[in-house]
C-alpha cells in the first residue's frame, strides 16, 4: 500500500488546465472560468520543499504511526522521502547522522482542526478572518483566502512538531466554506504552504453556533430544526446544480460529435454550489463541527439522503455515546483530551472519550482548534490516554500517537503522502527530547519533506514571522534558556 502511495505523484500545478475542454473551441471566443470543470485548481500550490540532504536518525525510540514502536530505531530520510526505517539499520554513505539515542522520533504531528492564519495573532479586528458570518451558507468562501502566512502561530505550532494543518473556516455557519491543507512551512504566500495534491474540506457546523449567530440576528436558523432544514435545502440545490451541469456536458458532447445542431446553453456557475457539488462528487471531504451524539446521527441521516460521506466529526464531545454508529459509518472523530463544559453541547465531554472511541474501533483524532493547544498536541493525547487507562482501557503509546498522526492524515485525505513513518512517504518527521507524551518533551528537530524546518539548537533553522521581527521576546529562540 505504501509503495503504491509512493508512486503517486502530486498533480502538477496547471495540469488541470491542459486537460480542460476549452482548446477544441480555440477558434471560438473563450470565456475562462465559466465552467467549473475547466479548472478545478485555480489557486494551485507553489510549495517547494527546502533543500535537504540524506539524514539518518539513529538510536531513537520510534513511534511509526502505524501502531508500532521500534526501540533503538533508525530512520533514513533521502530525497524528501522516508527511505528506510527499522532497528539497527545500516547508515547510507554520505548521510548526515543525527544521534537520537535516548530520544524519540514520530511522524510529523498533524492538527486536523486549526484556525491559524485565519484567526491570526495578535487577536485584533484586522486579523479576524475566520467566519464569514453573513449567511448560514457560505460554502463559496475558501479559508485559504483568509490565511495570513505571517501569523506567528504557525511557527509556534512548528516548534510543537506540527508539520501538516487543516485550516478551517469558523463554525458560525451551517456551511462555513472550504478548508485547506497546509504544510507548516514558512511561506510568502499561502500557495507556498499548500499541501500538493491534498483534497479540500468542507466545514459544516451543527448545533449551538449557527442557531445562536443567526437567531441573534433574528433570522434563520434560530433552532436546531432550522439548522437541519438549512442543510437539506442546500443539498437539494447542489444536486440540482450537478444535474444541470451533467446534462450540459452531455449535450455539449453531442453537439461536438455532430449529434445536435445547437450548442447547449451553459448553466450559470455558482461558487457555493461548486463546493457542495464537490462533496457530492466525492472530491471534497466533509469536516463537520458537531458536539452531540444525537446530532451526529442526524447528520449521518442527511448524508445518506443525499449520498455523500462525512469524513470526520470535529470536537465530538459526545462521540463516545454513538461510537458503534461512527465505526459502522467509517467516520473519524476529532476531539480534545480534556476540554469540556464550556457550553451545553460540550457538557457531557469526558476525558475518556478518545479511549472509548479507540477501543470501539473508531478512527480517533486529537485536534486543537486553538493556537496554544496546537503546540502541545501529543500532550493533549496523553491526557486522553491516561483517562482511558484509569478507566481500564489499555492503549499503548504506539497506538495513541496515531491520534495525532495517521488518523488525522486519513481524515483530511493525505494518509497516502504523510502521517506515518513508512518508506516512500514524505519525510515529515519530529525528533523529540523525550517521550512525546511527556509534559517535558520538546521538539529538537522538525523535518518537512526531509528538510530541517526547525532546530532548537541551531538559530539558523529557527524561522521568525515578519510580525515578530525586531521584538524582544520570542525573536531569539536560540537564546532561550
Amino acid at each position: 500500500m505504501v509503495l503504491s502511495a509512493c508512486a503517486t505523484v502530486p498533480p502538477q500545478s496547471g495540469a488541470s488546465q491542459t486537460s480542460s475542454g476549452g482548446n477544441e473551441q480555440a477558434k471560438e471566443k473563450s470565456y475562462p472560468g465559466l465552467d467549473p470543470a475547466s479548472d478545478s485548481d485555480p489557486f494551485p500550490s507553489t510549495y517547494q520543499g527546502l533543500p535537504s540532504s540524506i539524514v539518518a536518525l539513529v538510536g531513537a525510540t520510534v513511534f511509526t504511526g502505524t501502531g508500532s514502536r521500534i526501540d533503538n530505531g533508525t530512520v533514513i530520510l533521502d530525497g524528501g522521502k522516508i527511505t528506510a526505517i527499522g532497528a539497527n539499520l545500516p547508515v547510507p554513505a554520505g548521510a548526515k547522522v543525527v544521534d537520537a539515542h535516548g530520544k524519540f522520533v514520530t511522524p510529523g504531528i498533524i492538527d486536523a482542526h486549526s484556525h491559524l492564519g485565519v484567526y491570526a495573532t495578535p487577536e485584533v479586528w484586522a486579523n479576524s478572518d475566520g467566519n464569514e458570518a453573513t449567511d448560514p451558507n457560505t460554502a463559496q468562501v475558501w479559508a485559504e483566502h483568509s490565511v495570513w502566512p505571517q501569523d506567528p502561530g504557525f511557527i509556534r505550532a512548528l516548534e510543537g512538531g506540527i508539520t501538516t494543518l487543516e485550516i478551517l473556516p469558523g463554525s458560525a455557519n451551517l456551511f462555513g466554506g472550504r478548508a485547506v491543507i497546509l504544510k507548516n512551512v514558512p511561506g510568502r504566500t499561502v500557495q507556498d504552504m499548500k499541501f500538493p495534491g491534498a483534497p479540500y474540506g468542507l466545514k459544516m457546523a451543527c448545533g449551538e453556533n449557527p442557531k445562536r449567530v443567526y437567531g441573534s440576528k433574528n433570522r434563520a436558523p434560530s433552532t436546531r430544526m432550522g439548522n437541519i432544514f438549512g442543510y437539506r435545502k442546500a443539498w437539494i440545490e447542489a444536486q440540482d446544480y450537478r444535474r444541470k451541469w451533467d446534462e450540459y456536458h452531455k449535450k455539449l458532447a453531442d453537439y461536438k460529435a455532430g449529434k445536435a445542431d445547437k450548442a447547449p446553453e451553459a448553466p450559470k456557475r455558482d461558487l457555493q454550489m461548486d463546493t457542495l457539488a464537490g462533496v457530492l462528487d466525492g472530491s471534497i471531504l466533509v469536516q463537520n463541527h458537531c458536539y452531540r451524539g444525537d446530532e451526529m446521527a442526524q447528520m449521518i441521516a442527511i448524508s445518506h439522503e443525499f449520498g455523500f460521506h462525512i469524513s470526520m466529526f470535529h470536537h465530538g464531545s459526545e462521540a463516545y455515546k454513538v461510537a458503534d454508529i461512527l465505526r459502522k459509518e467509517d467516520i473519524c472523530v476529532a476531539t480534545w483530551g480534556e476540554w469540556w463544559g464550556f457550553k451545553m453541547e460540550s457538557f457531557d465531554g469526558i476525558e475518556e472519550n478518545a479511549a472509548l472511541l479507540s477501543k470501539a474501533g473508531v478512527c480517533t483524532v486529537i485536534h486543537s482548534d486553538d493556537a496554544i493547544l496546537t503546540q502541545h498536541l501529543p500532550q493533549e493525547a496523553a491526557i486522553a490516554l491516561a483517562a482511558g487507562r484509569r478507566a481500564g482501557i489499555e492503549i499503548d503509546e504506539a497506538e495513541a500517537i496515531k491520534w495525532v498522526t495517521a488518523n488525522p492524515a486519513k481524515a483530511i485525505g493525505v494518509l497516502n503522502q504523510t502521517g506515518t513513518l513508512e518508506p516512500g512517504k514524505m519525510a515529515d518527521v519530529v525528533l523529540w527530547s523525550a517521550d512525546p507524551f511527556s509534559v517535558y518533551a520538546l521538539t529538537e528537530q522538525v523535518y518537512v519533506d526531509g528538510a530541517v524546518v526547525f532546530d532548537r539548537h541551531d538559530p539558523t533553522r529557527q524561522p521568525l514571522s515578519d510580525f515578530e521581527l525586531g521584538q524582544a521576546g520570542p525573536a531569539h529562540p536560540g537564546a532561550r534558556p
Binding site: P122, S128, D324, F342, S368, R390, Q471, P474, R480
Partner: protein, 464 residues
C-alpha cells in the same frame, strides 16, 4: 485581554476570539482501573458527609512536604481529626488507623487552582449559570463572590479527580460586550476547599480583584494611562472616605463616585491588610503598577504578567508575587507581544514568588498541574513547579496556616500520585481533603461507564 478567557475559540463562540488554554512518566506507573461500583460510590459519598474524620496513615510514601522537612524519601503521613498529626521517615502508625500503602509513590499537598471560576459557575456559555461576574455600579470592590459559591457544583468533582483540593475563586468584571460598566474592581476573591461540603469556604476576602489590562482600558473608555489614573483616584477617594467616615454619615464629604460599600471594601487594601490582585500584562504597565503599589504602600499580587520576564528584577525587588499561565506564549495583544514559555522560569530565577494558574474557566481547573509542568519544561526547577501550585498560592492568598505544605497542624489536603504530578500520564491514586478521602469518581466517569459497553437490553438511561 480579559482574565476570563471566556470563550476560547471559534468552536465555542464563533467570531469572538479567545486564546486557549490548555496540559512521562514514571517507569512502571500503574493505572488502577476505577471500579465502577455504585455501592462504593454511595459509600464514599456518605462518608463525605460524616463529621468524624478517621485516622489515616499514608505509609511507604515519598513525601514532598514543601516545608522544613523537605523531601522524605520513604516515610509516613499520619492524619487525625482532619489534620496532619505527624510526618516523617520514622513516625509510628497509631493503633486503629486506616493504612493507605503508597507503595513508594509520591505524596504532595493538594493542588491549588488559583484564579479560577470553579465553584462560581457551571457552563460558561450559559450566563444564567455564572456567578463569578457580579460587580455592578454600586457593588464593585465590595462584590463578594464567596456568597455565590456552590459547593455542589458539578465541576468540583472533576477538578478533584485531577488532584485539586483548593481553589482561589477570583471574580471578574461583567461584560462580554453586553454589560459594560466603568469599574476596575471585580470584587473579592475567596478560597474554597473541594470537598463539596456545605462549609467549604476556606477564606473570604482573600484578595481584591482589579483589572489594569487593555480590556479595562476599553471598558472605561480610555487608555492604559487612564486605567492607572482611575485606579489611583478610586483609592484616593477611599482614603478620603476612611479619614472622614463621620462626614460621610452627615453628608459633609466631597462627592464620591463609589458607593459606601465599595469605599469600605477598599479600606483593608489601603491599610495593606488585604492584597490587591491586579491583572497587568505589559512590561511598562507592570513597572507602573509596582510604582503605584509602593507609593501607596499596597500589598499587590501581579496577575498574568506575560512580559514580566523583561522586568523580572523590578518585580523581584518589589517583593510582589505573580500569577502566571505558562502556556501563554503568543503575541495575543499589543500589551503582551513579548510572551514566552520561559516567563515563569525566568521570574523564579530572579527571586519572584511564582504562582502557576490554570486557565480561568472552572472546567479548566484540573489543568493547573500540567501548566506547572510546561513551566518546568521551559526552565522552572521541578521543585519550584510543585511549589507554584501548592505552597506558593497558599502563602500568597493567605491560607498558608491551613494548607499548602505537609506539616503537623495543617489541614490534611494530600494527594498520592501514580507518578510525577506534573505529567499528563500521571493520575491521582488518593485524594484527601481536610483528612477525608475523596471518592475518585465524577459525573464524567459515570457517563463513561454508562456508554462504555452498550447493552440493547438495558439502554443507557437505565444504567446509573
Amino acid at each position: 485581554m480579559s482574565r476570563a478567557r471566556r470563550f476560547r475559540s471559534d468552536s465555542q463562540n464563533p467570531g469572538a476570539l479567545g486564546r486557549a488554554k490548555r496540559g512521562p512518566r514514571g517507569c512502571g506507573v500503574g493505572y488502577p482501573a476505577l471500579k465502577y461500583s455504585l455501592l462504593a460510590f454511595a459509600a464514599a459519598i456518605s462518608l463525605m458527609g460524616t463529621a468524624q474524620a478517621e485516622t489515616i496513615a499514608i505509609t511507604h510514601a515519598k513525601i514532598m512536604t514543601l516545608g522544613s522537612a523537605g523531601l522524605i524519601a520513604d516515610g509516613s503521613v499520619i492524619v487525625k481529626d482532619g489534620r496532619i498529626a505527624a510526618v516523617g521517615a520514622n513516625v509510628s502508625v497509631p493503633a486503629g488507623a486506616r493504612i493507605i500503602d503508597a507503595q513508594g509513590h509520591l505524596v504532595t499537598p493538594g493542588v491549588v487552582a488559583s484564579n479560577t471560576a470553579l465553584g462560581a459557575g457551571e457552563v460558561e456559555g450559559e450566563a444564567t449559570s455564572d456567578d463569578f461576574a457580579g460587580a455592578t455600579d454600586h457593588l464593585s470592590a465590595a462584590f463578594d463572590v464567596s456568597l455565590g459559591v456552590n459547593p455542589a457544583s458539578m465541576l468540583i468533582p472533576v477538578a478533584r479527580m485531577g488532584g485539586v483540593t483548593r481553589a482561589v475563586i477570583v471574580p471578574e468584571l461583567p461584560g462580554r460586550g453586553d454589560k459594560k460598566g466603568d469599574k476596575l474592581f471585580a470584587g473579592q476573591a475567596a478560597v474554597i476547599d473541594l470537598s463539596g461540603s456545605a462549609n467549604s469556604i476556606t477564606r473570604r476576602y482573600a484578595a481584591l480583584s482589579a483589572d489594569a489590562s487593555s480590556g479595562a482600558a476599553g471598558r472605561i473608555g480610555g487608555s492604559h494611562a487612564s486605567v492607572l489614573q482611575r485606579l489611583e483616584a478610586d483609592l484616593d477617594e477611599a482614603a478620603s472616605y476612611g479619614a472622614n467616615k463621620g462626614g460621610y454619615e452627615h453628608g459633609t464629604h466631597r462627592p464620591y463616585r463609589q458607593s459606601k460599600e465599595d469605599l469600605e471594601a477598599l479600606q483593608p487594601i489601603l491599610q495593606g491588610k488585604e492584597p490587591l490582585l491586579i491583572e497587568v500584562h505589559r512590561a511598562a504597565d507592570i513597572r507602573r503598577v509596582i510604582e503605584l503599589g509602593k507609593r501607596l504602600k499596597l500589598k499587590i499580587i501581579l496577575d498574568s504578567v506575560e512580559e514580566g520576564w523583561q522586568v523580572a528584577g523590578d518585580i523581584a525587588a518589589s517583593g510582589y508575587p505573580v500569577l502566571v499561565d505558562p502556556q501563554t506564549d503568543l503575541p495575543n495583544e499589543f500589551e503582551s507581544l513579548n510572551s514566552r514559555m520561559e516567563n515563569a522560569g525566568l521570574l523564579s530565577a530572579a527571586g519572584v514568588v511564582v504562582v502557576v494558574k490554570p486557565p480561568y474557566s472552572g472546567d479548566y481547573a484540573r489543568q493547573v498541574r500540567y501548566n506547572a509542568g510546561y513551566a518546568v519544561a521551559h526552565g522552572l526547577p521541578w521543585e519550584a513547579g510543585i511549589a507554584a501550585i501548592t505552597r506558593n498560592p497558599a502563602q500568597v492568598f493567605g491560607f498558608a496556616e491551613k494548607t499548602g505544605r505537609i506539616e503537623p497542624g495543617l489541614d490534611a489536603d494530600l494527594v498520592v500520585w501514580s507518578g510525577d504530578p506534573l505529567e499528563m500520564l500521571t493520575v491521582p491514586l488518593h485524594v484527601l481533603i481536610k483528612g477525608e478521602e475523596q471518592p475518585m469518581i465524577s459525573r464524567a466517569q459515570e457517563l463513561a461507564r454508562r456508554y462504555g459497553a452498550l447493552d440493547p437490553a438495558q439502554p443507557p438511561a437505565y444504567r446509573h
